[in-house]
Amino acid sequence: MADIPGGGTIGAAGQWWRPSSFANPSNFMRLSERVLPWLIGLTAIFFAVGLTMAFRAPPDYQQGETVRIMYVHVPAAWLSMACYTLIAISSAGLLIWRHPLADVAAKAAAPIGAVFTLLALLTGSLWGKPMWGAYWVWDARLTSVLILFFLYLGLIALREAIDEPGRAGRAAAILSLIGAVNIPIVKFSVNWWNTLHQPASVLRAGGSTIDSSLLIPLLVMALAFTFLFAVLHLKAMRADILRRRADAMIAAHVRGEAGSSTLAVGALPHV
């Protein structure tokens, strides 16, 4: 795995935008600090507009008012797949190119993806009861999303089960790439099998089948969720980089490489 002890060398000021220097954790910390206030602002604005539109949109001719659950359910479901795709790409980045931030990105995304997947399952269930008459059915879409949720839990548990961070990162990367086969299954399950879950109605060949009065609030909420994910992911990545720095400081101290401190290892803070 790409170990990130202290951030390595820092490029000259103003060179952070080069792809090679962006891979540097210190540059990432500096860039993310600049970007985060803007992303937080965009998230707040899009949620304010999206929620207003979601509750002002007309009821659906079939679903009635229950269609409002879709403004939370659909963005959460999209993010559940997008987040796993990001983890799979990051894992490839770690295993193939040993990109220094790839492991941080994959590790930070897993808990966020798990929460969004759980939210998609929960809101789908709350929509299903009044619309289908059941909270849950074992159809291909619902089952594959449940498997996706278990994959997220598996990734988190695998990292926790292996003490050495390098091995944990590689093992999680391999598992995430194997699990990536589930993403097209989730996406195309409604086309491949006869499911109770409706087929794609926004991202489909031939264009959306949703009326613009319902589609626009949905897209605004999807953007709000996407900006939120970006904020959460950047913050979680920053926290993990700091955690690795602190771990590296302790490791260096134990090896006697850093400073002349006579501090006992047992007194050092571990989080």
């Binding site: 002890p5 202290g6 951030g7 390595g8 060398t9 820092i10 210190s26 509750f55 002002r56 009821p59 009635g64 008012e65 229950t66 409002r68 659950i69 939370v72 359910h73 959460a76 808990p111 966020i112 929460v115 969004f116 759980l118 939210l119 929960l122 809101t123 709350l126 929509w127 009861k129 009044p130 939120l228 959460l232 913050k235 979680a236 920053r238 926290a239 700091l242 955690r243 720095r245 602190a246 590296a248 400081m249 302790i250 260096a252 101290h253 490489e257 850093a258 400073g259 002349s260 401190s261 501090l263 007194a267 050092l268 803070p269 989080v271």
Partner: protein
Amino acid sequence: MFDLGPHAGFIWLSYGAAAIAIAGLILWVWLDERAQRKRIETLERRGLRRRSAS
């Protein structure tokens, strides 16, 4: 605007779950970053240095 019909409970539960999930995630990432920052400060106060800072 807020007369959500006979299934209002399902709608409010969905939005409530989303609010709790999002608030939980925000709290987690903010507290985690703050905890790690404090941890590094504590280490530095006790004389440990980052390799790149030495």
